[in-house]
Amino acid sequence: MATIEEVKKLASLARIKLNDAELETFTSEFDAILAYIGQLEKLDIPSDLKGEKPALRNVMRVDGTPHESGAYTEKLAEQFPAREGDALSVKQILSHD
């Protein structure tokens, strides 16, 4: 059973704010969804699969210069909500006080 407090906590972890009505709706829907996905508990995983390397896994490309430096700077900077020259402007996060 999901509780309103739990959903509120999840929202805070996900950087989302929910109003009381939304909290109530999501909480009640969560019960039905969790009951459904909870059926996975009943699934037996064969022991030889448990330690198997997954077929899908991360790979890294070699470090390098995929394109000329600065080629996308202006296009990317145009999307900034606030800019100073080519720099992205954000709130100060460290205080000197």
């Binding site: 959903v7 999840l10 929202a11 972890l13 996900a14 950087r15 989302i16 704010k17 929910l18 939304e22 999501f26 829907e29 969560f30 039905a32 969804i33 969790l34 459904y36 996905i37 909870g38 059926q39 996975l40 508990e41 009943k42 699934l43 995983i45 064969p46 699969l49 448990k50 198997e52 997954p54 077929a55 899908l56 790979v59 890294m60 490309r61 995929p66 996308y72 296009k75 990317l76 145009e78 999307q79 900034f80 909500p81 606030a82 992205l88 954000v90 709130k91 996060i93």
Partner: protein
């Protein structure tokens, strides 16, 4: 089955397939400009009602002239001069790519997706960007931040989703063919509900560079088209490994399969009981019987873990959604609201930018990944993927393709599945191919009759349904072969 006429000369240009249009362009029966105008005129006329496009682009005179020139020089590319529609989560440089979200309403793509670059190189034209469920989360387009798309076969019903705009645009002959993306059925399900062919390629067959990510271990870009041959042409044009997407795979990574002749069709009868409409099951059985009469063989197969596939999908997908969408925080691009603190900036931007279904899946994903639950949900679901894949590999020892209906029922009425779980259950047949990474196709298998909603009681509409085939990894050609066999019956 979807061809309105066998004689291309009877067709209006916008009603042609890629093959028919390419032939007419080469025979000088049609110019690129005339083909563009035919599509654009119909698109502008029908879009106010259907809302398939979020934006219809102005004609690109340079691209049209270049395509005409290439055709006159007998260029071999069949896509040269063909107007296509692109789902709004695929980047076209300089155009808005919003993923039908308020979050990216004003986001302008800074580069071309690899698939778009390949289509441009092939001489294809882009008629517009199509509507979808926000960030591709949904099966109806009702979750678009800009209003739902309507099904051309019955505007009181959904076109399916999340690539519903692409499906409606092709089905209503507003465009010749389209690209969509498929994370759990988002190409195949709308294709089935609008009478089209829809292909979800093998995981890694097509580059996702420039696709706005939903579930990165599941997403693939693929075609929505009027015929199998058109789907094949589009798929061939966009497929191939790409240094910009490390998950793309080289050709012939998996063993080659016989791609022609008589097929052994595996049928998991145990999955077709409850929950599947009687008429859908009847159409499915009739289609299988006709395939048998045409010389193909039916094989009974068992896929016991399939019963858990949807549950595994609705753990893995939201987990990936919550991580992928964490990048959207109002800092570098997209919807940005400012509050007192930096944390307020994040929270306000995300809360205002995301729609309800997106919030729901971000929360669900945060839950299944949270400490204390990750073993019970996420790790268990990942292990279930391995079991499913093994079961399918085993089944493919005795058959070439596996068949079931694409959807348990035809297109539903707007608002009918307002409870999220009931909407999720409609994906039951399509999600497994994304979990196993295998290619799958939906091909039209006729129509079922349904009465309209209360406002038009007594009026019966013919609603399309689809048959779904899954093949082993990289065996797209097997799908095209069985798909053509269905088109011929």
């Amino acid at each position: 089955m979807t061809n309105p006429s066998t004689n291309p000369r009877d067709l209006r240009p916008n009603e042609m397939t890629i093959v028919e249009a390419a032939r007419a362009l080469r025979a000088r029966a049609l110019t690129v400009r005339e083909l563009w105008d035919a599509c654009a005129t119909v698109a502008h006329a029908k879009n106010p009602e259907l809302h398939a496009f979020l934006e219809i682009f102005d004609a690109d005179e340079v691209a049209i002239a270049a395509a005409q020139k290439r055709i006159e020089a007998n260029d071999a590319s069949l896509l040269c001069g063909i107007p296509l529609a692109i789902k709004d989560n695929i980047l076209i440089e300089g155009k808005i790519a919003s993923a039908a979200s308020k979050m990216l309403e004003n986001y302008r793509a800074t580069y071309d997706a690899t698939v778009v670059k390949k289509l441009k190189d092939a001489g294809a034209l882009f008629l517009g960007r199509t509507n979808m469920d926000e960030f591709a989360m949904g099966s109806s387009t009702e979750h678009s931040a800009f209003g739902a798309t309507k099904n051309p076969h019955d505007p009181s019903r959904v076109p399916g989703g999340s690539s519903g705009g692409s499906a409606a645009a092709v089905a209503a002959h507003m465009v010749i063919a389209a690209l969509g993306s498929d994370t759990g059925g988002s190409i195949r399900q709308p294709a089935a509900l609008t009478g089209l062919v829809g292909l979800k390629p093998t995981y890694g067959a097509v580059s996702r560079s420039g696709l706005i990510a939903l579930g990165s271990s599941l997403d693939q870009i693929g075609p929505l088209a009027k015929t199998i041959e058109d789907a094949r042409i589009l798929h061939t044009a966009i497929a191939g490994s790409d240094s910009l997407d490390a998950t793309t795979i080289p050709e012939s990574l998996y063993p080659a399969r016989a791609t022609s002749g008589k097929m052994r069709i595996g049928v998991p009868r145990h999955l077709l009981g409850e929950g599947v409409d009687a008429e859908v099951r009847e159409a499915f059985n009739t289609t299988l019987k006709k395939l048998e009469e045409a010389g193909h063989t039916l094989v009974d197969i068992e896929l016991p873990t399939s019963a858990h596939a949807l549950a595994a999908y609705y753990v893995i997908m939201p987990a990936e959604v919550s991580t992928n969408l964490a990048r959207l925080d109002g800092m570098r691009y997209g919807h940005a609201t400012r509050g007192e603190t930096l944390l307020d900036d994040y929270v306000l931007s995300r809360t205002e930018g995301f729609g309800e279904e997106t919030l729901r899946r971000v929360l669900l994903g945060t839950f299944v990944l949270s400490s204390g639950y990750i073993d019970a949900y996420y790790r268990k679901a990942s292990a279930a993927r391995g079991v499913l894949r093994r079961e399918y590999d085993k089944a493919f020892e005795s058959c070439d393709v596996i068949a079931f209906p694409t959807t348990p029922s035809p297109a539903f009425v707007f608002g009918e599945k307002s409870d999220p779980l009931s909407m999720y259950l409609g994906d039951i047949f399509t999600v497994t191919a994304n979990l196993t990474g295998m290619p799958a196709v939906s091909v039209p298998m006729g129509f079922v009759e349904r009465e309209g909603p209360s406002t038009s009681l007594g009026v019966k509409k013919q609603l399309p349904i689809g048959i779904h085939f899954t093949a082993p990894h990289q065996a797209e050609e097997v799908l095209f072969s069985i798909g053509s066999a269905v088109e011929k019956i």
